[in-house]
């Protein structure tokens, strides 16, 4: 078995090397002239993003607008992971077998006080990352992970029950669903206004204070990023809670 897997790995490796090693065929690293970099699509993203959407960060614009549909399903993947992990490991009641985990239950004073100071800053930073994702690296996904990490930090510093008092399991599932509803809702809104799915340009008709389709795209992207953040933050926390307690959602790490 070991030998067989070694042979498989070698074959795959040689195949991949064969693909990348021909200097006439495979563009070398860092060349601006490779077909991928010279293709009209990627050039269009660089030159016209700012005109179409007013967003300086091309990655955000492509992520949330040009290929926004991918991102919607990326959010769905996260939601699926949350639901899937819930349905695989969650056990109801306290009848679960195995050792009862009793870590030192009294939270350490130094740690809790440090976290008290840190957590508001982390959450503020998460919101900054979300809101400033249009003109600097960041966006809904990164902000969501950071926000989720701040809840995880609460659970680590005190215990999961303390964290669940602030953000319960049900609330986490509901927030995850709401995130997708926000995202797909933007899509459906543009369908109802008579354009294609996720064509945010049209929502300037109903958004007050937005007069051009470009700005509507700008704000539409912000809206869907908020949806992404809802889903990601709550699912990350949910996954942590489920994995740390073997599905009991109490006690734990």
């Amino acid at each position: 078995m070991k030998k067989l897997s070694g042979i498989i790995v070698l074959i795959v490796g040689l195949l991949l090397l064969y693909g990348v090693s021909d200097p006439d065929d495979f563009p070398s690293w860092g060349t601006p002239d490779s077909p991928a970099n010279k293709s009209p699509v990627s050039q269009y993203f660089i030159t016209d993003t700012i005109v179409d959407t007013e967003v300086p960060n091309m990655v955000t614009a492509v992520l949330a607008d040009y290929r926004g549909y991918d991102t919607m399903f990326e959010t769905v993947v996260i939601f699926v992971a949350g639901l899937g992990i819930f349905s695989v490991v969650r056990v109801f009641g306290h009848s679960g077998s195995g050792r009862v985990v009793t870590a030192d239950t009294k939270p350490d004073m130094i740690i809790t006080n440090t976290c008290r100071l840190l957590i508001p800053v982390i959450q503020l930073f998460a919101l900054y990352v979300l809101a400033h994702g249009h003109s600097s690296p960041g966006g809904g996904f990164q902000g969501g992970v950071i926000l989720g990490a701040s809840f995880i930090l609460v659970a680590l510093a005190w215990d999961l029950d303390t964290a669940l008092k602030r953000f319960s399991e049900k609330q986490a599932i509901i927030c995850a669903g709401i995130g997708i509803l926000i995202y797909a809702g933007f899509g459906l809104a543009s369908v109802f206004l008579g354009e294609e799915f996720l064509n945010y340009g049209i929502i300037h008709r109903i958004l007050p204070g937005v007069d051009s389709p470009e700005m509507a795209r700008y704000y539409g992207m912000l809206g869907v990023e908020i949806g992404v953040m809802f889903t990601v933050a709550s699912v990350m926390f949910l996954i942590y809670g489920l994995l740390a307690t073997r599905g009991r959602m109490t006690g734990g790490l």
């Binding site: 860092g30 992520l63 990164q142 992970v145 989720g148 990490a149 995880i152 942590y240 790490l253």
Partner: protein, 81 residues
Amino acid sequence: MIFAFDFIILLFLIPAAIIALQLKDLLAAAMVFGIYSFLMCLLWAEMGAVDVAFTEAAVGAGVSAVFMIATIFNTKRNSSD
């Protein structure tokens, strides 16, 4: 994009990956995997993929390592290979 920087991080990545797979203590393996992810994140930042690097820093080096540690805490800490 600085070639020397790129070169050095790439050379560090391979031992990090091998050590993460070879350590018998799974908790240590998870930590080395976190280091691997963070090196990857540095590499991508150096290549100009700042958004990807940011995500990897938050996800690969942060949340995935926490998930792994949570699972190791609830199962077994040492592995046979």
